[in-house]
């Protein structure tokens, strides 16, 4: 920034030079002076000055000013409470005023100990009270959703939560009702606060007014340990902090990676952790006996059994990976199977194409984009929720967001190329996003980006939103383990199913039919136990050490927050590898050091750091031509597009608090189709296919191509590729 654009401000006698337009709070911070705030939060947009905690004395203005609403101007002379008696008195009065009706709840309140109101009162506020009258009372606590409890007595009306709801997540569900001292925070018409990002208001609340029901009375700040790790439930890889107490995860909080999540988390990542304690968690290995029965085994016996199965399988082993394994785990499995046994065949969770790396960008660059083009059939929020917030931010900042039609034959690529090509080329910062299946692991979108010459333009790029959290990393790890030819073994002696996602994959299920025997690694007693011969317990992302690669291609550290109830995969894979003369460490740092040489250019485990860096853009590679789209089956009625909703999957299914977030039984219809069928929005329609009939609520989505209907996967079970819809 050039010198012309800076201003000089004097704060408490300290001269500080800051860029023009900097808020006074940040300016003071630059001078090493703290101006206490409650409501001020730059991520929520423009400051509102609601709490008056930041009162400062500005020379030339007779009244005290709310510091957060001011921006630094040249020659401004500011005195904060540290030097100005007036400002200190003002702050004291503000705090006294806030505390007048604040209930004596500290010992009970979950926020106690990490509460900004406590902190600021202790540091700046009055030590004694002058008020003896009874306090205002409300009914409390009010569950505004199964995950959030609202205590109106504690609320200091800073409007952070409502601002988040209206200005960030744009769900507009939290509002302030009534006026003055009677103001309360409420949801719209007492409906539950049902939005994918609702949990963020808990973290935003500077008092204990909005608290998590999961964390309610579970732990105190001095009893917990926060483990910095990465969320493993979607490909975004938000940086989270797992709060643990006595060896159990108690809550998940944001760790604010400014390039990935900016401190926002979706409710799945925030509340989904209780699946660790699910009742049907597999903790012991078990073996199938007879047709239906299974017996638990000791670990030694299980390893013996597994060894026998592997020896019998030899090279004719197929491994089905989930995409939720760590890179190390995939690598270890690869070393064991590929080097130890020569079994190179794997079923990958999804395609990964390196061509996309040439258009790599941090997610935060979406916010700065001028033009965003979204392709693919799936809603973004269902695939990579935080990306949706970035797009909303971009839209608020004036970017143009173009969503392609859903259900277009090629995902809208051709249309985008033809109709928007020129504009994308000309746009200063244009970003392409592919959200949906059939993107060929990013090759499709990379191909389009290459065509539009985005590789050379900083600030422009392309994202492919994959389905699994670590699909890329798993592919890297598996590939690094050995370089052998992948030949389809015939017959399949042994199928290894790694993880619950793989077990739920119908293709894997079909493979299992062909395989002689099946070895499954599963966290939960899912149906896989019925068709696997040996089930070994799996672990969750919160229980592992290792690395994940997110959708940007960023390598991030996963830290073990809690000890799993069983040995983690790496531990027993290493043991098993020993029996096949494969030298493998059970500790992820060593494994990473080994694999890093092979696929990440030898970077060090410690170099990944708490806030992971995004690698440089890779050199452009030849984008392979998209494989010919399989010929569409023709059928009667509307073609069905189903997508996997955010609130689904093995983890979410085991979290009772999140069930209300699961998608409603809806069918999305294009306006034309709806008109043709005569379905109004919200009316019930019968959806028939393959002899299955489902009653769903109709919803009209103008983005849908005519002749296409979209249903969330969990409501589309049993339905074929085409459905007939009737009222």
């Amino acid at each position: 920034m050039s010198a012309a654009e800076t201003v000089t401000v004097s704060i408490d006698g300290r001269e500080v030079e800051v860029p023009k337009g900097t808020g006074l709070v940040e300016t003071a911070l630059a001078a090493g002076i703290e101006i206490p705030v409650f409501c001020y939060e730059p991520r929520l947009g423009a400051p509102v000055g609601a709490c008056r905690m930041c009162l400062v004395e500005v020379e030339g203005i007779p009244k005290l000013q709310a510091g957060c609403t001011l921006t630094a101007t040249d020659g401004m002379v500011v005195k904060t409470a540290q030097t100005s008696k007036l400002a200190a008195d003002g702050q004291n009065s503000t705090l006294e005023f806030i505390l007048v009706n604040h209930p004596l709840d500290c010992p009970v309140c979950d926020k106690g100990g990490e509460c900004p109101l406590q902190d600021l009162t202790f540091r700046w506020g009055p030590p004694v009270t002058r008020n003896t009258f009874p306090k205002r009372t409300f009914e409390k606590p009010i569950p505004i959703s199964p995950t959030i409890a609202l205590d109106r007595e504690r609320c200091i009306l800073c409007y952070r939560c409502t601002r988040f709801s209206s200005d960030v997540s744009e769900d507009d569900q939290l509002v302030a009702q009534a006026r003055g001292s009677q103001s309360i925070i409420a949801t719209f018409e007492d409906q539950p606060y049902r939005a994918p990002f609702s949990g963020n208001v808990i973290e935003l609340c500077p008092v204990g007014a909005l608290t998590s029901t999961q964390y309610r009375f579970e732990a105190r700040p001095w009893e917990i340990q926060d483990v910095p790790t990465v969320c493993g439930l979607c490909p975004v890889g938000c940086n989270v902090e797992a709060t643990t107490r006595e060896g159990k995860v108690k809550r998940i909080g944001s760790r604010n990676h400014p390039e990935i999540d900016e401190g926002w988390l979706c409710d799945k990542g925030r509340f989904g952790f209780t699946h660790l304690r699910a009742g049907d968690r597999v903790v012991d290995p078990s073996r199938r006996v007879g047709v239906r029965r299974s017996e638990t085994l000791s670990w030694d016996a299980a390893l013996d059994e597994a060894e026998a199965m592997l020896r019998a399988g030899g090279a004719n082993i197929v491994t089905a990976l989930s995409g939720s394994e760590t890179v190390e785990q995939a690598y270890a499995l690869g070393r064991l199977l590929r080097q130890g046994l020569g079994a190179h065949c794997a079923v990958m969770p999804e395609d990964v194409n390196p061509a996309l790396d040439a258009f790599r960008l941090p997610l935060s660059s979406i916010r700065d984009a001028k033009l965003i083009v979204i392709l693919g059939d799936d809603p973004i929020v269902e695939r990579a929720p935080v990306v949706d917030l970035w797009i909303k931010a971009a839209r608020r900042a004036g970017a143009e967001v173009v969503e392609s039609e859903i259900g277009a034959p090629d995902g809208g690529v051709a249309k985008a190329r033809d109709e928007l090509g020129e504009r994308i080329r000309e746009s200063e910062r244009a970003i392409l996003i592919w959200s949906g299946p059939a993107g060929n692991g990013g090759a499709t979108i990379a191909g389009l980006a290459a065509e539009l010459d985005l590789a050379e333009k900083p600030g422009s790029g392309a994202f492919h939103l994959p389905e699994t959290a670590n699909g890329r990393g798993v592919a890297d790890g598996w590939a690094a383990a050995a370089d052998g030819d992948e030949a389809d073994p015939e017959p399949i002696e042994l199928l290894i199913v790694s993880g619950d996602e793989a077990a739920a994959n119908p293709d894997v299920r079909a493979l299992a039919e062909q395989a002689e025997r099946v070895l499954a690694i599963s966290m939960f007693r899912s149906p896989v136990a019925g068709w696997a011969d040996l089930v070994l317990p799996g672990t969750s992302y919160l229980e592992r050490d290792g690395t994940y690669v997110n959708l940007e291609g960023r390598l991030q550290r996963l830290r073990r927050a809690v000890i799993p109830p069983c040995p983690d995969e790496l531990a027993w894979i290493a043991k098993l590898a020993e029996r096949f003369d494969v030298d493998l460490s059970p500790h992820s740092p060593q494994v990473f050091a080994e694999l890093s040489e092979r696929c990440y250019g030898g970077i060090d485990y410690s170099a990944i750091g708490e806030v992971a860096e995004l690698p440089e853009r890779a050199a452009a590679v030849e984008v392979p031509p998209a494989p010919k789209a399989p010929k569409r089956e023709r059928g009667k009625g509307l073609r069905l597009v189903s997508y996997r909703p955010l609130f689904s999957g093995p983890a979410v299914e085991r979290v009772p608090e999140l069930q209300f977030q699961r998608p409603g039984s809806e069918i999305e219809l294009s306006a034309d189709d709806a008109k043709k069928i005569g379905a109004k929005a919200g009316s019930t329609v019968q959806v028939i296919s393959n002899g299955t009939s489902v009653a769903l609520h109709a919803r009209v989505n103008k983005q849908l191509v005519k002749g296409v209907a979209r249903i969330a996967a969990e409501h589309a079970q049993g339905l074929g590729t085409h459905v007939e819809v009737s009222t």
Binding site: G112, P141, R220, W222, E223
Partner: protein
């Protein structure tokens, strides 16, 4: 100082005269000296008069404990299981008395006067595990009781924290 043989003998007088005095040792298990009111012995948890527990499970005692010997796990009161007034109660309350240093910071920290250090000091056990006192043990009347000296003689008019509200 020159040696003075007679001075050496004076000590014999001192030892001899003790025979005719009453021994100062106390026959402990039979006789228990009254403790002063401020004595800090084993902890006690208290109930309100209506039977509800005073403890709300806020863990302030655990935070104040320099020896980290208190473990509190809280839970929410429900209509059919009301343990304490208010929203929260201590589901688990354990004090590891083998770690406790009897500094009394827990009773200073407790905002509800739910925990106090009482006069009982006979807390030996054969096993360390037995020294982890659970909530039920802490709420119960102590089995062994020790006399306490007259409070009106030996304590400040309003004892700073032994007040029962």
């Amino acid at each position: 100082m020159s040696p003075q043989p007679l001075d050496s003998v004076r000590g014999f007088g001192v030892t001899l005269k003790q025979i005719f005095k009453k021994p100062i040792t106390q026959q402990y298990p039979e006789y228990k000296r009254p403790l002063y009111p401020r004595f800090r012995g084993r902890h006690r948890l208290w109930r309100h008069q209506n039977g509800l527990e005073k403890c709300v499970g806020c863990s302030l005692c655990a935070a104040a404990c320099p020896a980290d010997c208190i473990r509190v796990v809280a839970a929410e009161n429900t209509a059919d299981n009301r343990v304490s007034p208010g929203e929260r109660y201590a589901r688990i309350y354990e004090i590891n008395l083998s770690r406790c240093i009897f500094c009394g910071y827990c009773e200073l920290a407790c905002p509800f006067d739910a925990i106090t250090l009482e006069q009982e000091f006979e807390i030996s056990e054969y096993s360390r595990d037995d020294l982890i006192y659970t909530k039920d043990m802490l709420l119960a009347e102590p089995i062994k009781r020790v006399p306490v000296a007259d409070r009106s003689l030996y304590d400040t008019p309003i004892p700073a924290y032994k007040e029962r509200s």
